[in-house]
Amino acid sequence: MFMLTHMITSFIASAGFGVLFNAPKKSLLKCGFVGMVGWFVYIWLVNWQYDAVISSLIAAFTIAVISQIFAKMYKTPIIIFSVAGIIPLVPGGIAYDAMRNFVENDYNTAIQLAAKAFMISGAIAVGLVISEVINQMIRKVQFKSRI
């Protein structure tokens, strides 16, 4: 039940972001799907007591891989799918907590939380990059085998 709620809400939230970014109407459901899978991976790993940084990395990687497959299938820019999928992973909650602690003059906690938010954003970026690198390697191998 817990997982089901999360899957439905993340699907709607990602599709909603598709509307805000004015993604093509046909791809809204796919945006929602990408976001749902990404969030599912993240919340599943977090439930298994994995660290949020590692979970974000794996989830971002999953999102990027699915986006790349969709981009190839539907011949649309990859950004449409990956952006809507990434949004739920953005560490908004931690950044908010950090900000709140800064305002309340609790700098020690604030710096810790800010560092955590920074690490998670970095992990999302690394996840995206790894998938890009793998994609380029596959393309190169295919190109060579054609010659």
């Binding site: 999360h6 909603g16 805000l20 970014f21 820019p77 908004g92 709140r100 305002v103 999302i124």
Partner: protein, 250 residues
């Protein structure tokens, strides 16, 4: 494709227009450069150089034609236009469109408005806010407050942005309003967790597209664009944070 290529100056115009639409729509720098080079190559200019930053594009061809510069002053997010220009570029490469048709099509895309109606955007923002609340482990009783706060925050973002052209200021006002509304709900007893409501409702303003693009640009070697987009994302996040922080200082 016809036997003769269009004059170079026309090709430059096509490339710049395509680049401009894509950049204003929020495409990554490397995609803009790639598209411009591809269009130029399929219209008879195999060697072209482009330099794309978030605020301007410089495009030059090998030869006697002067390099051209185009200024990008207003940026928004419109992924549909990016997709359309991508489709035009594909059709130019495959020879379905010649120079004149492509230019007409691009001008049509530039002047058209494909965005969703404002009320749909507001609806999407408020529903997304509610869903984010649930995803961040909030309780269902806070669902409606988060929806209202997120929706009203987005409305104020759109309207303030129409009056004041500074994007950071409208984000600041929007997040300030979200904070006040959330505080009001908790104060009156309609909402329970202030933190969760604020986090959920602020999500539609979060610069997710900028962050992803900044990283991808940096990794692709477009250091100037990557850093400037990162700075924009940071300023946006700071504006949101400052708006929320102001609520807590009361």
């Amino acid at each position: 494709m016809g036997n003769e290529f269009p004059p170079t100056i026309e090709v430059i115009e096509i490339c710049l227009l395509a680049g401009k639409i894509m950049l204003q729509g929020g495409a990554e720098t490397y995609r803009v450069e790639d598209t411009m080079t591809r269009i130029a190559a399929s219209l008879g200019i195999p060697h072209s150089h482009s330099y794309v930053t978030p605020t301007g594009i410089i495009f030059s061809t090998d030869g006697t034609e002067p390099a051209k510069l185009i200024r990008i002053s207003e940026r928004s997010t419109d992924l549909y236009k990016v997709t359309l220009v991508n489709g035009v570029s594909r059709r130019i490469s495959s020879g379905e469109l010649d120079g004149k048709e492509a230019l007409e099509r691009l001008k049509e895309i530039e002047s058209a408005d494909y965005t969703f109606p404002v009320y749909q955007q507001i609806l999407a923002a408020s529903i997304a806010s509610g869903c984010f609340l649930i995803m961040f482990l909030g309780s269902w009783t806070d669902f409606i407050p988060a929806m209202i706060a997120g929706g009203l925050g987005f409305v104020s973002f759109i309207h303030v942005h129409r009056v004041v052209q500074i994007k950071f200021f409208s984000e600041f006002i929007a997040s300030l309003l979200i904070g006040l509304i959330a505080y009001f709900f908790v104060y009156t007893g309609a909402g329970t967790e202030l933190d969760k409501i604020i986090i959920g409702s602020v999500m539609p303003l979060v610069p997710g597209l900028l962050i992803t693009n900044a990283v991808r640009d940096l990794m692709a070697g477009h250091l100037v664009s990557g850093l400037s987009k990162g700075a924009e994302a940071f300023l946006t996040a700071f504006a949101i944070g400052a708006g929320i922080a102001l609520v807590f200082t009361f």
